[in-house]
Each structure stands twice: as C-alpha cells, then as structure tokens.
Symmetry: C2
Subunit: 683 residues, 2 copies
C-alpha cells in the first residue's frame, strides 16, 4: 500500500501533466514502441475462473531453479515509516532465502539516507543492495506511480524482477516465487495475484466508480515483471496512453499504480500471468482472502494492504500478525549468514573487518574489548519521522546516546531542550519496536519533529559508547553540537544561551573553542530543577546539589573551577588537566570519539585530550549548567564493572591511545603522558 | 548429547545390573520375542557408500503426507538445563510445522514440573503434550539409556515416532522428516543419520576402543522408530543381549544409548534405514559435517552434540549459531497460531479463556485491563538449576517479582537473604537469555542453590503484578513466605529472626497471623545498610532514612505504628485500616493475590484486605525491618501512569473487588467499603 494522500489532492489535469512529465524524465525518447498493444493472448480458461479461489491447483509445481541463481527484487520506498517496513520485509525474505539476492531500492532522499547506511552496516553476505535515489521533486508525492516506470528506471540489461510493496511479509523462500517466471507464456509480461476484495467490481457503494479491471482485478503488492519484454512491448507508451484516456472520464481520487496496471491489463489481458493467491494474501478490510488461505496448507506472502495495517479486523489476524511480529523483532544480525555452496564476494567493508578480526589473539586478555571495537553494528538512522528545520548559523544539536533503561529520560530532556537533538539508541530489534511504541504513546515525544533517533543494533557484550556517540555526532545537522550524556538535564535556558554565546564569541570562523557547560548532580529522585543560576547556587549551598562526581571523581571536572564559575559574569578560559571530562559545545566537525573505548571508562577523557591536542580553547560559560539525575547503574555497566579484566584492559587501551597520540601529534602529546596518574575510577 | 557423567563412574558390572533392572521394570514378561535378531536385510549398497557424504541423492523425494496427519515426537528430558534446551527445540519445530503434533516427553521429576506447566500455559493449538514421569530412582542418572526403552514405554498402539535429543534445532518442517518413514523397507525399523565423526572407527587415539559399529556408526540425536515392528521383533530382548555381551569385554566409560544402538545395528544391519545427512548435521568437535552441508542447499536439523555446545570450534559455527539463536530468543507466544485447514480441539484451558475474551467489550474503557487479566502467560518454572534443601518446619521463602530493569537488585538481595527465594521474572524470551547470562556471570548468584527463578513471559501492555506474585507464591516450598518487593533489602538478620519468631509465636498450628516487617526507605543511591535496629533508628533520626512512602503515601504503612515500633521489645498487634499495605510473613497457604489488579495500583492493598477478612492477626515484629532502595520508575510503571484511563479503571476494579468481597464474606466485608477513601496515589 503506497501513500495515497497527496495524489488525492491533485486534480485530474495536474495528474495528466505529471504522467507526461514522468514519461519524459525517465523514458526520454529512447524506448522502442514495438508491438501493438493487445498482441498478447489471453489465457481464457484462467481469466474465466478467477473468483478469489486458490490458483495453486492450476499452476503445476515450477521446475527447480538453477542453484545459486541471482534473484532481483525491486522495492519502492519513501520516508521514515516505509523504511522501517522495508527492513521487516527484507528480514522475512532473508530468513527463508537460499539464493543470492540483488535488491533494487528506489527511494526518496530520506529513505536513501536510511537504507544506504542500513545495508552498508548490515553486511549480509550474498546480498547486493542498490539504492537509487529519484531526486526529482516534481513527483515526490507520486511514489505510488513509481512501479510503472521500473522497466525504464532499472538497469537496461535486467530482464526479470520481483517487485514488492514494503507492507508485505514473506513466509517462504522467494526463489519459489521467482520460479513462477517459468510459467509465463511468450506473451506474458506481468505476474500478479488477483485482487482479494470486491473493489474493482464497483459495487462497494452507490456511485462507486473504480478504474476498469478484469473481474476483481489484480493486486500490485507482489509483481513479477519481465522487464525485457515490457521494454520491447513499449510499456511506457502503453500505460501512459491508457492512463491518459481513463483520466479524461474517471476520478483521480484513488489513483495509484494499481489502477493503471489494471486498466492496461483490462485492455491487454494477454499480458498477465495470474499467480497463485498464496503469493499475495491480502489482509485489507473486508478481504476475501480466507477463500485462499483456508484451502492452502501453506502461505507464502502476506500483504498488509489495509490502512489499519496490523490492527485490521479479521478473525484470523492473530495468525498473520504473529508471522509479521516474528520478523519485526527478529535480530537482523542473525541474517548475516553466508550461503553454503554459493560463493559470493563479501559485502563491501566486510572483508576488512574479517581480516582485522582474524588478526586478533583469542588468548589476549582484552580480546573481548578488541572484538567489540571491530564490531560493525547495524545502524538505522532516523528510525522515526524527523523533520528538522533548515539549519541556522549558530544552531546547536544536543548529542547523546542511551539504551533501553534510559528511555524515561527522554520526556524530561525534551522539556529542557527545545532545540534539535541527535540521539543514538543501542537497542535490540525487539527493543526498537518497544521504543517505537513508547514514543507513540508519549504526547511530548511524538510532538517533536527535531529529534533524530538513530538506532544502533546491539551486538557483543560491551557497550560501544564512543561508536554510539560518533553515530549521533555524524548525524547532527547544525553547525554546533552539545556533547552531553543522557542522564543530564540542561538548564531550561541553555539552548538559547548557547546559540547566543556562539554568536557573541564568534565561534567557528574566528575562534576555535570548546564551550564548557558546568556539570552538577543531585542524589535525590524528587527534585525541583533550578530555574536560574542563583537558584542553583542556593541548592548547592544547602547541600541539595553537588558539583558532578564531587564525591567519587573530582578530577573529572576540577579544571572547570566551580569557585570561579560562581562569581563569573563572562566566559573564562581554563587549562586542560589530566582526566578532565567536561561537557562541551563544539563545531560539528570536531574530532570523533575514539571507538577503542568500549564498555565504560575514559571514553570522554580521551576526546577532551584530542580537542586539547588540536588546540581548542576551553571556555567555561558563566550561565550554562546541566544537572545529572541519579539512576541505578545500568546492566551494561554492572556487567562491565564486575569483569576482573576491566581495569587491566582499560590501562592497555589508554597506553595504546597515548602511543597513537604521540605518533599523531609528536612532542606536543608528551604532556598527556607526563600528566598521567595511576588509574582510578572515571566513567 | 545425553549426560554421560554418572555412568562413567559406574563399573561395567553395576551397569549390567541396571540394564537388567530396566528391562524388568519396563518390559515385565509381556513382550513377545518374535523374530530372531538379524532377520532384517542389509541394504548393501548404502552401507558401503557411507562416508559422511550427503545421502540426499540416494533417497528420492518422499511422497507428500496426508494433510493434517498427526505426527508423534518423543523427547527424553531430565533436569533444568535440558528443559531449557527442549523449549528451544520445540520452538524450532513449531515454527516450521504445518501438521498437528503429539509430543511424548519422558522426564525426571524436575523436568516434569517444568514442562507440564510450560505446555499447559503455552496453549499451542494442534499440539498435544504428554509428559510421562519415569519415577524410578534406580536409574535416574541413566536417562541416556531411556531411548532404548521407548518402544515399551510409549503407548502400545503408537506405531511410529520421531525421537529427538534436546540439543537439536530444526531448520525445516518436521513433516519432511516424518515422510521418510515411507522409505523404510519391510525389515527396517530404525531410521538414523550416519555419525559425522571418526569416533567409532576407533582411531582417535592409541588404545581407543569404541563400541562396535557399522563403519562410522550412526548418531542417535534424530531417530525414526517403527515402534510396532520393534515390539514385534523383540527389541527389548535384542538390545539387552547385545549390551550384556559387549559389556563383558568393553569399557563402560562412554556408555549411552548410542553405543548400544550401534552395537545392535552392527549385528543386525538390516534394521537400519540410513537417513540423509542433512537431517542430523552434527557439530561435534572435529566434525566431518562440512562434507554434508557444503553440498546441501538446505539444512534440515542441526545437532549441537559437542559438550561445548554453541561454543564449539568450527569455521562455520556462526552460521549454525544464528539459526539456533533465532529460536532461543523467539517469542514463543507467536507460535500459538492455529493450523488453517486442520481443525483440532483447542488446548486444555484455552477454550475457557477464549470464551471470556469473547465476552469482553472492546469499547469498554478498561478493555485493556480486562484483557490483560485474562492473558495466560507462558510460565517456565525454575528456569535455572534449583536444588533447595528439604523444607524445615519454620522455614521462610522470600517471594517477589521483577522485570529486567531490576536484575541489579539480585546480588544485594542474595547477600541480605541467605534463605530460600521464589522469584517471578517478567521477561521476553530474549530477555530470559540475557538473564541467564547475567546469572552465569555473577559469582554470588551462581553459587546459590536455593533461589528459584520462574520466568513468566511478557505479553500485553500492562504489568501483571499479582499474577507474577501468585506464580512465585505457589512455587514456594517452605511452610512460610515473606511477601516482599524486589526493591527492598531485608535486614541481614531477618531470615534467622523470622524463623525464630515463627517458632516462638507458634504460628500455624495455634495462631493464624501475618507478621509485619516494617518498611523504610532511602532516597540516596549510596547508602550504608544499618546492621541493627539501633543503627536504623539513628539513620531515621538523622534524616538519612524515612519510613516507607512517608512523603507520598503515609496511609500505606501508618497502621504499622512506627512510633510504637521504635520502643517495642515484643511483637504487637495492629488493626487493619484502609489502604494498609505492609510487607508480611504468612503461611504458604495464604490467600492468593487478586489477579484483576494489573499495571500498578492497589495490588497489595487488596491482598491485605483479604488477609484481614480471613481473620489473620496482624503482628508487627519489633526487630524486623526492610529498606526500599531508590530507583527510576520502570518503563512499565511510566507507561501505565501516563495512561489517562488509569485512575478510572483502577476505581472500577476496586469497586468490583469490593462487590466480590461482599459476596464472599457478607456483612463482615462492610467495614472495607465504609473505610474507603477517595482514591489517591498508592502503588
């Protein structure tokens, strides 16, 4: 089911124009207009017998495929929500597949960004993803017509392709579907399953005037396309002629590719090869699908083509939902399994990782740390809709990372920080679904358009804190970033104050600086957040607040010089000292965090060293503050701290970091080594 | 792989005795000893060609099964760990199956308890579980021989059965395996896959003397048994003769059913139907399985028959592990899907639930609450090994429930409470695996034998707090229970003190009482737990501790009368009052918690009302205390509290509770109604 919102708002005339435009843009004048429409022959028996029944008995079992044959799948995908759907669809396909696959993903700019990163980091062997961005703004609302232009948009040497809607779920091996190409007669070019509703019969309501179709028509959620023959048959010309003619008399209100496919087929019935109903079990409202699945012992593809999706009313919906939920929560990294007996080149980037992993010594006490550093986590950028404002010159994005046990912080954080945020969430696939429901259930969170949630999928025993920070940092769209932690609440005024300070201090062009936001903490759960610096100081004096880690690790923030901050009216410069780990505002192009620090320990310290080595001034802002709220130690941190090798490995990592620093910055890095203290407990 | 530990310790003579004993116990004298051994014919070609190669080419595709044929599967399962393995195996079978299944589970007492509850609460349509307990202690360590006696132990009218080890994982439909029965010749009685290691060749080390076998021998992780023919052929006599003879000359060190099966087959090669290797891909150390799977496009069953299990070294182990992990973390409730076209009676108990659910009104504002109350959660009792001491007369079990976000409490709780605990954990299947790893990684937790962890699987949006409490309560094995909450730490002395008090107060026989353990709280994370009542009082006076919910909900504990407790030297009686919800010690047969209270609210209050209505005295113990530690609100509670219907529905539930109370206790219940206050925020 593709978005039908925008086309509905367009008049028929505008649509006509658009159709011509698409044709012009994509087809140019290069296509041959060979065979006259209607040259295909209609398989009369089949079309006469189409009444929502199972076609499986009329199609003999297809011959087995050549082993390891590469199968091509095209999917049109636009926007955040469809991108999530697509992932679930792809998981279901990969789960059952035994063949190498080539995915042709036709996307808008949002989906392109998401899917390129997703497939790059997914690294599934024997899967070739190819993301094509259709950049033309003229028909950005018309992705619903995109399937019609696939013969022209896909590579010209591609002869066959399976086209899928993002809202289908596979329950079997896609090779069985591909094998149905073998049943095509010489004239047939499109394989489709009959529509499992009475829509095209035109009797759903008074004056219901659907587009023309053969009988119940066909559903286009699952299509087999003979691209070679379509190109030869002048498909581009064919569908535009039909669409143009029909648009003269028909309402365009429900226009989508499916109407046009059906209108063309009505005119040229010989083009279609009807497929067994089990390959597109349509769970629309008032579906007739039960006629299909109650007879079949085996369902192959489920199609959630009701606008209500999984909430559709259907007495068997529980059954279908379970199949779908299977893949929704399925750990996608388990699908990174090679195909035995079908040698294929490793996915891009995978070979390098494999080589590095192969060089690790399993007997090394820090093996787990090194393995975790090398782990490539699947990344799903902007998991939820994200509509940021165009970036403004002094704008700041709050950057942080979290796992499931800190979701409760999000609402408060949103209340304290109205500006853009880029958050990396370390989640399992199942947790990502819980997270989605959590946001949907929260009025505060669902109202925000400028918070980008990037899901980094869990893998391995140690929390990859700096990899997470780097994902969130890289996705910030504003010129400045506030590098925070999820359990800090910023002062209500901080967002405005930071932008004003950046402007005033002429950061960026004239000054290379990191602005320090002084950090405090409360040990109490119930806590009235101070509305001003004066109020904060009063709480500090009364013992309700402390400077951050005052009791356990004062070195981490001592250089901020809280005594001076009390009195300060203007920003003041402070000097780096060992173990300093303030929360800072820096330009977006600042150094990345060192990903070798996994688990917990020294991860921020190393970043501040790097900033200092690159000669960032450290400027403390007199009116800025953030307060850390108490929380139980996370499971990740507990597990980590109880590990006896933690201290030793952290020391090894620190030594290696310093070696690299010397290599990079030469004698200038000497001060970091001499400043070193025997290790004690930082975060 | 069945446990080989104990038999190793036994001498050959003792084993001989046991074998005879088993024969006597199970076979009696009733069996016919029909055909002479060796009457079966050997399929010479096949046995000659067995070299670890793929047999799939020599076995033509089996004819399709009659639709909806009932398939029988037997699994021998003993102990906690095998029970967990069995669940994963069963999930993999159910995921791919399309036929009704009858599981014959042959268990010890531990596995019986676990599996009966598990299958009862799992309620999978078209699955009949039948748990047989083999109660004889004489061979409790010899479950490794149990497969040999299945022809006698299984129902006499059962003709065919698939026998599986608990450490196999299915990657395809078990009906395809069942269909291989059709290839059995008239003489063949056992279908087996060749052993995929050189073990039986006897050349693994100097003086390696394996049991006799045909070539590489056969692996018994997956067996097709023609029970009817085995019985006719006098199987019981046959294997005992062979085993007895071999034991005279062979070491019994590695004795398990597999050795005896192989020895019998060596003698009577005509009995065996070799199965394609893909039906038992054996991932033992030094496996030769690659010869099988590198040629097959399709793996059917994986067998983790190395003692290292998933950690076995094998260059493709990642591939197999991913298949296994798929089901390890798979939400088992998604397998509760009916088989379309194979009508079968609903699972025991399911019909009643279905009827009740059907009566609910979806428009009812409290629909979600009512639906949650009726949800039958899968329950896996004693998920981890649990070896409690025999119950002592005044012993007390600590009863509590938790979800993932409170795992961090467990270690501290174990340090504070050395006695038995019964804990219900509300987890997803994937979280249950995380939990397992968490306990394994903790020296404190893995050392404890007397903590029973009962996993209740998550389903539905609301936390079923009272259902969880009831599971933990029902599984307590001591005469008394301390009904606590997971975020309370008891005084170090509490366990001893409670047992002494129970004895002194002559609870049970002479006195029906609930002993109140006064509750306190700290708002600080870092906190030194008081070692005595005096120390606690000092902390209370200094403002470091409060009585529990002193600020938000003093009514909940006011009747405990903390002022009196300060001075008390002996237990004192207090009166029930509205909203009282103390933590109490009661006999195990106390009233159950009312499961209608889901989410958060009034769940303990209702239980105390029930105790009072049943005339339990409320006795406060002068030296007892427990302290609540601070924590962020759980995700469950946040979601719940943000629900606008919460207050309303809680009121509806309370009203219904009071109606039921009046119905049950008559005029005596009037006081609870009149004591009612306008609702305010209790837990």
């Amino acid at each position: 089911m593709l978005p039908r919102g925008r086309p509905r708002a367009l008049g028929a005339a505008a649509l006509l124009l658009l159709l011509l435009l698409i044709g012009f843009l994509l087809f140019g004048g290069d296509l041959e207009y060979g065979r006259p429409p209607g040259a295909g022959t209609l398989d009369g028996d089949r079309s006469a017998d189409r009444g929502g029944h199972n076609h499986s008995d009329c199609v003999p079992p297809p011959p087995p495929l050549p082993r390891c044959e590469l199968l091509h799948v095209a999917i049109v995908c636009a926007g955040h929500n469809s991108s999530r759907d697509l992932v679930t669809l792809v998981k279901s396909v990969l789960f059952y597949r035994k063949n190498p696959l080539h995915f042709h993903l036709v996307t808008d700019a949002v989906a392109r960004n998401i899917l390129e990163m997703l497939f790059y980091t997914w690294m599934v062997p024997a899967v070739r993803p190819h993301v094509s961005w259709i950049p033309n703004k003229h028909y950005s609302g018309l992705y619903g017509l995109m399937k019609l232009v696939l013969p022209a948009a896909l590579p010209p040497d591609l002869a066959r392709v399976i086209v899928l809607d993002t809202d289908v779920t596979f329950a079997s091996d896609i090779a069985e579907l591909w094998a149905l190409f073998a049943h095509f007669s010489d004239e047939q070019v499109i394989g489709l399953v009959e529509n499992q509703s009475d829509w095209y019969l035109g009797n759903l309501w008074r004056n219901h005037r659907p587009w023309p179709a053969l009988g119940r028509g066909f559903n286009t959620g699952v299509i087999l396309l003979r691209l070679d023959r379509l190109r030869q048959a002048g498909w581009g010309q064919m569908w535009k002629l039909t669409a143009t003619r029909e648009l003269l008399t028909l309402p365009a209100t429900s226009l989508a590719d499916q109407d046009i496919f059906n209108a063309v087929i009505k005119e040229h019935p010989g083009l279609v090869q009807p497929l067994p109903c089990i390959w597109n079990v349509q769970l629309s409202d008032h579906t007739l699908a039960e006629r299909c699945y109650s007879e079949a012992s085996d369902l192959k593809v489920i199609h959630w083509n009701s606008p209500k999706k999984l909430r559709v009313k259907n007495k068997h919906v529980g059954y279908f939902r379970n199949l779908h939920l299977t893949f929704l929560g399925y750990d996608g990294s388990l699908l990174r399994r090679e195909l035995f007996g079908c040698p294929s080149p490793p996915p891009s980037g995978a070979e390098q990782v494999q080589r590095a992993l192969a060089h690790l010594d399993e007997e090394d006490a820090c093996f787990e740390f090194r393995q975790q550093q090398l782990t490539v986590h699947r990344v799903h950028l902007t998991f939820l809709p994200h509509e940021p404002l165009p970036p403004r010159p002094h704008d700041v994005t709050l950057v942080a990372q979290l796992s499931m046990d800190r979701l409760q912080m999000l609402e408060a954080l949103c209340r304290h920080w109205p500006g853009p945020m880029s958050l990396a969430l370390y989640l399992t696939d199942a947790e990502a679904q819980q997270f989605l429901r959590f946001v949907e259930a929260s009025a505060v969170l669902s109202a925000r358009q400028n918070v980008a949630y990037h899901v980094v999928y869990r893998e391995g025993p140690l929390y990859p804190v700096n990899q997470l920070r780097n994902v969130a940092l890289a996705q910030s769209l504003t010129p400045y970033v506030f590098l925070s932690d999820i359990d800090f609440l910023p002062a209500y005024s901080l967002y405005d104050y930071l932008r004003a300070s950046i402007e005033q201090l002429k950061l960026g062009s004239e000054r290379k600086a990191a602005l320090v936001v002084p950090a405090f903490e409360t040990l109490h759960y119930r806590f009235r957040f101070p509305s001003s610096k004066a109020e904060l100081l009063a709480l500090l004096d009364s013992g309700s607040l402390y400077t951050f880690r005052y009791h356990e690790w004062p070195r981490g923030h001592a250089p901020t010089d809280y005594a001076r901050w009390r009195e300060a009216q203007t920003p003041y410069r402070v000097q780096w000292a060992a173990d300093y780990e303030p929360y800072v505002v820096v330009p977006r192009d600042c150094p990345r965090y060192d990903p070798r620090f996994v688990g917990f320990g020294w991860n921020k310290v190393a970043h501040i060293v790097e900033l200092d080595a690159q000669e960032y001034e450290l400027l403390v802002l007199p009116e800025a503050f953030a307060i850390h709220l108490p929380h139980a130690p996370s499971l990740d941190i507990s597990r980590f701290r109880s590990s006896p090798t933690y201290r030793d490995c952290l020391q090894v990592l620190k030594d290696e970091f310093h070696q690299d620093l010397s290599r990079h910055y030469g004698a200038a890095a000497l001060k970091y080594l001499t400043a070193l203290q025997p290790p004690r407990g930082p975060t």
